[in-house]
């Protein structure tokens, strides 16, 4: 009888072969491991998969900060260096990338875009005692485990909800419909907003509607929402569907107001919604360079360096690097525990969303959300909710 054991062998032989000859390929390199060379910061961003377009925005933002800091002499007398890995917005790929960064000896992580792909990387960095300053992913699940090394510098869903509610009240909305695309981030905000609307006082809830991301025809959803006769609609998903929905809502004769959450703030939403359909579209968003006074310099520098406009989460990634550098300088060390203590002690460090201070569960004390509005085909500041 031929032995089926052969089979085992093949698997293992192959694994072994790859690992044996893979020291160089898979083993990663130890450029950041010693205490003399540059301090390497790791960054998990999507460069392939459904959110591939975000990766370069974030990587460039971080790179800009690193070059600025290096030009001023670096941190602790050492240069900073960025090492970006593709997480493809896929949990498995993200975990592998995180392990790769750990193996490469990074001293801190400044990446994380998709919450679903970032969640499984938390224990990887946490076990290796590497501080994470997450610039974009903002699910409250990220801090729910209360891991010591995990910090968020993007406003979370509940903070965005607070901002949205403040604007709904302020703008006199009466009956609000919430729509989301059933992704973790969007659903979080939508469910929280719906819960707030259900409370007595303030605007009423017209309904909550889910659409399937990645499609073109949302007429069924539009019909369902308009049946509840809202005068204000809040879309918490991403820009592709946001643009289509805005247009289809207007075509269906909806005259009320529309607001989108930060995932939909992208110039493309205006071109997809087409012309006047997008006019007067509100958005809950953290400050963007072009809505901040005095940030023109930053935008100009970014454009000059990368010959492209900054995009979503470029500023936050830029900030993440600066925050880490600040904490390392304060701690006088790149040691994980010391850097975490320094991060917890930061008070009033200026980032795009305002002065930085972490809450005990490592989130921003102030979400820094403002209200933007589309004017003349561009997002502009409407209300800073201060």
């Amino acid at each position: 009888m031929k032995s089926p054991k052969i089979i085992l062998g093949v698997a293992l032989a192959a694994v072994a072969a790859t690992s044996a000859c893979g020291q160089g390929v898979l083993g990663g390199d130890d450029e950041g491991g010693d205490d003399k060379g540059p301090i390497v910061l790791g960054m998990n961003v999507p460069k392939s998969g459904s959110s591939a377009e975000i990766g370069p925005y974030m990587e460039n933002g971080a790179q800009l900060a690193i070059e600025e800091i290096n030009a001023k002499g670096g941190v602790l007398g050492r240069k900073l260096q960025l090492r970006a890995e593709d997480d493809g917005c896929d949990p498995k790929m993200a975990t592998a990338a995180a392990n790769k960064l750990v193996a490469a000896g990074v001293k801190a992580s400044v990446g994380g875009y998709c919450s679903g792909a970032t969640l499984p990387t938390l224990p990887v960095f946490d076990k290796a005692k590497i501080p994470m300053v997450i610039p974009a992913a903002n699910s409250t699940d990220l801090v729910a485990q209360k891991l010591k090394h995990v910090f968020l510098i993007n406003g979370t869903g509940d903070q965005q909800t607070t901002a949205a509610m403040a604007w709904l009240v302020k703008s006199g909305a009466k009956k609000v419909a919430v729509m989301h695309d059933n992704t973790s981030y969007a659903k979080d905000i939508a469910v929280r907003t719906a819960a707030e609307l259900d409370k007595p006082g303030g605007p009423d809830k017209a309904g909550i509607e889910t659409v399937n991301p990645g499609e073109s025809d949302y007429s069924a959803n539009v019909t369902a929402v308009l049946k509840t006769s809202p005068d204000f609609i809040y879309w918490t998903g991403y820009y592709q569907e946001g643009g289509l929905l805005t247009r289809q809502l207007r075509q269906a004769g909806y005259k009320g107001k529309i607001m989108v959450a930060d995932g939909a703030v992208d110039p493309k939403i205006i071109s997809i919604a087409q012309g006047e359909n997008a006019d007067g579209l509100y958005a809950t968003m953290t400050q963007m360079p072009d809505t901040i006074q005095g940030a023109q310099n930053w935008v100009a520098k970014y454009k000059q360096k990368f010959s492209a406009d900054p995009g979503p989460y470029s500023p936050q990634s830029y900030d993440a690097v600066r925050v880490v550098a600040e904490a390392m300088t304060k701690a006088g060390s790149t040691d994980g525990a010391k850097v975490v203590t320094a991060l917890e002690g930061i008070n009033g460090f200026q980032i795009f969303s305002g002065p930085l201070k972490f809450t005990p569960d490592h989130r921003l004390s102030e979400g820094g959300f403002v209200i933007l509005v589309v004017k003349d085909g561009k997002f502009a500041l409407q209300d800073s909710l201060k």
Binding site: D217, A220, G243, Q251
Partner: protein, 297 residues
């Protein structure tokens, strides 16, 4: 209510247009062309590229431009379909079905991610959009552009129907569907007719792609996956291989989805649609209008 029906019929006519190609190919060579939805995507993208190339004309004569692009894109996707058949399917015509299906899955991937490499992962926005006034019919809001699109879809379907039932070509197709070996003996050039079938089916999908681009405005490289799945569902519901059945199936699926969203909420719509597919396959595998087919071995 009437709005729900209209929404369903409108979406359904897209499904029907794509499903026809599925159905034709299946009817003739019993192949589920898994890559069919991606030909729809290819149509949308080639339309986008052509509109970009036409430049000035698009601004001044947008409707005319869109119509020319529609015809050219049909030609492009039709030829792509022929190439696909020649390269990927013809060498395997005698192989078991499993091999053909796997090839079709491979072709689907190659088309999707090939487009991605060429055009990028970001969604593209059509420079021309159909605009129009809104009519109220029985309480449903219907835009003129929707009517125009449905008109084009119906025209294409009627043309196809005439082609199949009245022309020599159509007779050859039906002959091959009935018995390919006998057709060959009767002097029908089987290879040629299959290539033509692929051309027509793919061109219809391409037309649907351009229409979707012009109407919705946003296209991306994965847009064909879901619609391919839905088109298959439509074809099965109506009776795969049967042209009238397939058209009917598209409309029925559109209505099912429209009402499914209404009853269950948007997040359960696809579960509902696929649930219906499974139910249909279990209860009536030949579809609404399909005649009883005995599985040949």
């Amino acid at each position: 209510m009437s709005q729900l029906i209209w929404n369903g019929l409108f979406v359904g006519s897209f499904y029907a247009l794509v499903a026809l190609g599925y159905s034709m190919v299946y009817g003739i060579i019993k192949l589920l062309n898994f890559a069919h939805g991606d030909l729809y995507m290819l149509g949308a993208f080639s339309g986008f590229a052509m509109l970009g190339a036409m430049g000035g004309l698009v601004k001044s004569q947008s409707l005319l431009a869109l119509f020319i692009v529609l015809l050219l894109a049909m030609l492009t996707t039709g030829l792509s379909g022929v190439v696909l058949e020649r390269v990927a399917y013809r060498p395997l015509r005698r192989a078991p079905r499993l091999a053909l299906l796997i090839t079709a899955v491979g072709a689907s991937f190659a088309l999707e991610y090939g487009t991605r490499i060429v055009a990028g992962a970001n969604p593209k926005v059509y420079p021309v959009r159909l605009g129009g006034t809104t009519l109220h019919v029985f309480g449903a809001r219907i835009t003129v552009q929707q009517l125009a699109l449905v008109g084009v879809a119906v025209a294409l379907m009627v043309a196809l129907h005439l082609l199949i039932t009245r022309s020599r070509q159509g007779r050859a197709m039906r002959a091959i569907a009935l018995d390919p070996r006998a057709a060959l003996l009767m002097g029908v050039d089987v290879d040629k007719v299959i290539a033509r079938t692929f051309f027509i089916g793919s061109a219809l999908a391409g037309a649907a792609g351009v229409m979707a681009g012009g109407y919705y405005g946003k296209i991306d490289f994965l847009m064909g996956f879901i619609i391919g799945l839905k088109a298959f569902t439509a074809a099965v519901i109506g009776g795969i291989g049967n042209m009238q059945g397939t058209m009917l199936g598209g409309l029925v699926l559109g209505l099912l989805e429209s009402f499914g969203t209404h009853w269950l909420g948007g997040e359960w719509r696809d579960v509902f649609a696929f649930g219906c597919l499974i139910l249909f396959l279990t209860v009536r595998p030949t579809g609404l209008l399909g005649e009883r087919v005995t599985e040949r071995v």
